[in-house]
């Protein structure tokens, strides 16, 4: 099943990148959300896909005996999901606050920290 997953992930990445190349914060945020899922799926696929068998050790054994899904990517993704969620929430609130104070959601118009005019640097000593 790695082949369909690979194609799906490629489309996820492409959509995320396209959204993030927008000027508008909302679309960038949507892109970030999709990018998080794309990366998680990428991790999942590199650990190889196994159907329906969660990595749980049967009660009668003290180590794994059956062929199960790979637990390592799952552990990594579990961390990644939570972190990308908190990151997403933070960015969302940040965009909201920026919108409130700057009156725009266009990243190109957010130039408070940029020099107002293109002032040439001093060339003296």
């Amino acid at each position: 099943m790695e082949v369909p997953f690979s194609l799906l992930i490629g489309i996820f990445f492409a959509a995320a990148v396209y959204l993030m190349l927008s000027k508008f914060l909302v679309r960038i945020l949507l892109g970030v959300a999709i990018l998080g899922n794309a990366v998680n799926l990428l991790l999942f696929t590199t650990g190889r896909i196994v159907r329906e068998v969660p990595p749980i050790i049967p009660a009668a054994f003290d180590h794994q005996v059956a062929v199960t899904a790979n637990p390592l990517p799952q552990a990594l993704i579990l961390t990644a999901i939570v972190i990308s969620f908190s990151f997403f929430a933070f960015l969302l609130v940040l965009s909201y606050r920026a919108f409130q104070d700057l009156g725009t959601d266009n990243a190109n118009e957010m130039r408070v920290a940029e020099p107002a005019a293109d002032i040439a640097p001093p060339t003296g000593y």
């Binding site: 914060l25 050790i57 000593y125």
Partner: protein
């Protein structure tokens, strides 16, 4: 070498730095008299190295050192032969006198301690430079002299001219240092050795190497910048902005001689070839003439001396490269003579400046009776500089002419250059030594009287040495001149010339030089005008070129910065993703590692593909969404479809987490996005949409291909097997994923929790900034104050945009100002949520308004 002598030598190299550390403290307690104890440091070094004189005179070489980084063949080792020893003695000997002189010259200066510290550090760097054996140490000390001379030249940092001169010296000599580094690296690659002592036996290999031209250009780039050869001569006179002790020290025996030292040191390795014997004399001769003309042009005593230094350095470089029988001996004699008389004359110029308040030769006169000791000293030094018998300068000049004179065109040309250059130097020398002292008394800014002991001790010692060395040449030659000449030439040399004039072509040339020099001296004012007119006609010089270069550099870097940092997120992201796409695709193409044509899995179930299709529908829904609701909905579909995929492929834990997170995301997104407005359409014009889409597709394609390639490869299950084996037996958990999270990677999970908590706090504070800022507004009831006070983290107030907000959305800042009684809170036309923005956060403000009287 005996172990204890080796240790002592090592201590001698460290002493200046120790003195530098102690100098500020000593100066605090002793004032300018700290010069006396501080002069003991260089004096001790001088005495220590004097002990090597007999060994070196017998033809020996003192080596020693300690391994530093043995694995890289780096050692702190030294090689002391005739060349190094002469320099060591000059640096430490003149250094002793300079320290004493600084004590008198900068008496009462608030930063005198700092000055002592700098000059001792510089001394340490110079001592290391002329004695070190390894390339690495050579480069380190070379750059250290650049840095410490930067500090010294810019000592008077409140003046712009001093800052400019310091920066100029640093840029020119430090830049040259990089050339030297590159040259040393090439030498290392060609010969495989990193020590000068070993390099000396590789001369033939180096000269035959195809990289010889590169080595030559790089090494000369380092030496010519350091030794102020034309066209890099301009930094040296500008460095006269430094206090006079610095000029006397840097420009007589040390800094500017470092380049000459390098050329002399490498002469046995690189010398003897046609390029070497052409480039060095050509640049040296040109520098000699240019320096002479510029020296005549000046009226400032120090500047005259500075340009004669340029001329003398030119002569030394010319002799080093000339390669005739007497050239090495001539270079050796002139090197020593120049250090003695130039150091003395600089200090005399400083003493005149110190006592009269001016250095302008046209505003000085008749000081002979008032400053007799200084006058006699100046005269002695000038006689040596002019090359009159029986001074040491005379010996040097005789040897110079003996080396240059010859029957062929090259010899005639360079002899002519030397005669003219020396005549101008002669005139400048006597202009400095006679003009201020003779003639009618001229009023000066300060009432002059004889300089104090500290100011005349140094020059007197040097001037008398110049006379003594000439008279006692049969003692000096075997001890200093012959080993020095031997080291320069790379073969045994015996210098025999004595102060007794002996008839011959050299003597005749000397006489011509002196006659020309006297003529120039007598017509100095006219010569000065002529030189000035010549330079005015030329107009542009490398000094102005330096300003243009620096200004151009600043402007270029400014433009480059604005190009690379336009402040547009779009630009940054575009560059980032282009690089991502390239990083994915280029290696695949470069190494031909494309994945095999994928085979569609035969066991793909319908429901699995259906969930994938659902995910794709969600993604395309987000892309195509025209309004908020659709976008949120589509994002939710996409997220839940991913959760379903996890569930179908053996990851229930992921699935549950994903469901939870997606739900929360959608809720938060719905809350916030009702306030943010999604543009009805993706407003990108087609011209931008196409490249954006191309970049996006390239990225997606890259990830797909990469993933296909990876999954087609062999899977290494070693980690998975580890967890499968030990999850239960060690960590006592059946759910392997959970065990990894809470046990094997427990610290990682702790970090994750910390991240979540930090983000939560950040979100909370972002929201609270508004509420907190609304507080004082209530109390003050001043709408304007709110507008400014509300702006978080120092952002400029937004109130000016109040009336010109393009989309009609109201800024909270403004609205809270209005809420405080200026006008009714507006109902934004920005969207259905705009009234709710003020729902919670604005409550305080509303209360505030109710409190208004």
């Amino acid at each position: 070498m005996q172990t204890d002598t080796m240790a002592m030598t090592f201590v001698a190299f460290c002493l200046p730095f120790l003195g530098a550390a102690l100098a500020p403290v000593l100066t605090r307690f002793l004032g300018h008299n700290a010069a006396w104890p501080l002069a003991l440091f260089p004096a001790a070094i001088f005495l220590h190295f004097s002990g090597f004189l007999s060994e070196i005179a017998a033809g020996g070489v003192v080596t020693g050192g300690y391994a530093w980084v043995p694995s890289y063949n780096v050692s702190f080792s030294w090689l002391i032969d005739g060349l190094s020893l002469t320099f060591l003695l000059l640096i430490s000997g003149i250094g002793t006198l300079i320290v004493l002189y600084s004590g008198g010259y900068l008496k009462g200066h608030p930063h005198q301690g700092r000055f002592f510290s700098f000059i001792l550090m510089f001394m340490g760097a110079m001592l290391g430079l002329v004695a070190c054996d390894s390339f690495l140490m050579l480069f380190v000390f070379w750059e250290l002299t650049s840095i410490t001379s930067f500090l010294l030249i810019g000592f008077d940092h409140a003046r712009e001219a001093a800052r400019r001169a310091a920066l100029q010296a640093l840029v020119v000599t430090g830049g040259g240092g990089l050339f030297l580094l590159a040259g040393l690296l090439v030498l290392w690659n060609v010969t495989g050795v990193t020590q000068l002592s070993l390099l000396l036996s590789f001369g033939e290999e180096v000269r035959a190497s195809p990289f010889y031209a590169a080595i030559l250009v790089l090494v000369l780039g380092g030496a010519f910048t350091k030794s102020a050869q034309f066209p890099f001569h301009f930094w040296l006179p500008n460095a006269m902005e430094a206090p006079t002790p610095v000029s006397a020290y840097l420009h007589s025996a040390t800094m500017v001689k470092a380049g000459v030292y390098l050329l002399m040191r490498l002469n046995p390795v690189l010398g003897g070839t046609t390029p070497w014997a052409t480039i060095l004399p050509a640049f040296g001769g040109l520098t000699l003439l240019v320096g002479g003309v510029l020296a005549i042009r000046q009226t400032d005593l120090k500047l005259m001396l500075a340009y004669t230094t340029v001329a003398s350095l030119g002569l030394l470089v010319m002799l080093t490269g000339f390669g005739s029988e007497h050239a090495a001996a001539a270079a050796a004699l002139y090197l020593v003579a120049h250090s003695l008389f130039k150091g003395a004359l600089f200090m005399v110029a400083g003493a005149i400046d110190h006592e009269t308040g001016t250095r302008d030769v046209t505003r000085l006169g008749g000081l002979a009776r008032l400053m007799p000791v200084t006058f006699v000293t100046a005269l002695l030094a000038a006689l040596s500089m002019g090359g009159l018998p029986p001074f040491f300068g005379f010996l040097a000049k005789e040897e110079v002419y003996a080396a240059l004179a010859g029957g062929n065109l090259r010899a005639v040309a360079f002899t002519l250059a030397a005669v003219i250059g020396n005549a101008m130097v002669f005139a400048a020398a006597f202009a400095v030594a006679l003009k201020p002292f003779l003639g009618p008394r001229v009023e000066t800014p300060k009432a002059p009287h004889e300089a104090p002991l500290l100011l005349w001790l140094g020059p007197v010692v040097l001037a008398v040495l110049g006379l003594g060395a000439g008279l006692l040449s049969h003692v000096v030659h075997p001890l200093v001149s012959s080993p020095l000449a031997a080291a320069i030439a790379g073969r045994p040399e015996t210098v025999t010339i004595s102060a007794m004039p002996h008839a011959g072509l050299p003597l005749l040339l000397s006489a011509v030089t002196i006659a020309l020099g006297i003529g120039t001296y007598l017509l100095l004012d006219r010569a000065r005008t002529a030189a000035a007119r010549l330079l005015e006609d030329i107009g542009w010089g490398p000094d102005r070129g330096f300003d243009q270069f620096m200004a151009g550099l600043v402007r270029f870097s400014h433009r480059l910065t604005r190009l690379l940092q336009p402040g547009l997120m779009e630009a940054y992201l575009t560059v980032t993703f282009v690089i991502v796409a390239l990083a994915l695709l280029v290696p695949l193409a470069w190494y031909g590692e494309w994945p095999r044509l994928p085979i569609w899995p035969a066991d793909a179930q319908f429901h699995e593909l259906a969930v994938m299709a659902l995910a794709l529908a969600g993604v395309f829904g987000v892309l195509a969404a025209q309004n908020r609701l659709n976008a949120i909905l589509a994002l939710g579909i996409q997220g839940f479809a991913v959760a379903l995929l996890f569930l179908l492929f053996g990851a229930p834990d992921l699935s549950f987490t994903q469901f939870m997170v997606e739900t929360l995301s959608v809720v938060i997104l719905a809350l916030v996005m009702t306030r943010l407005r999604l543009q009805p359409r993706d407003a990108r014009p087609l011209a931008q949409r196409l490249p954006d889409a191309a970049i996006a597709i390239a990225c997606g394609l890259g990830f797909s291909l990469y993933l296909l390639k990876v999954t087609q490869g062999r899977f290494d299950p070693v980690l998975t097997e580890f967890f499968d084996l030990y999850s239960k037996s060690i960590a006592h958990g059946a759910n392997v994923v959970n065990v990894i999270i809470v046990d094997f990677r427990g610290t990682d999970t702790l970090g994750e929790i910390a991240v979540v908590m930090t983000t939560g706090l950040a979100i909370l504070s972002l929201i609270r900034i508004r509420k907190g800022a609304a507080g004082p507004a209530m109390a003050g009831g001043d709408g304007k104050a709110i507008a400014y006070g509300n702006s978080p983290s120092g952002l400029p107030a937004i109130s000016p945009t109040r009336g010109e907000n393009p989309r009609g959305t109201r800024l909270r800042n403004v609205s809270s100002g209005e809420a405080a009684g200026l006008s009714p809170p507006p109902r934004g036309e920005g969207g259905e949520g705009s009234s709710r923005i003020r729902g919670d956060a604005g409550a305080d403000v509303r209360t505030g308004r109710e409190r208004q009287p």
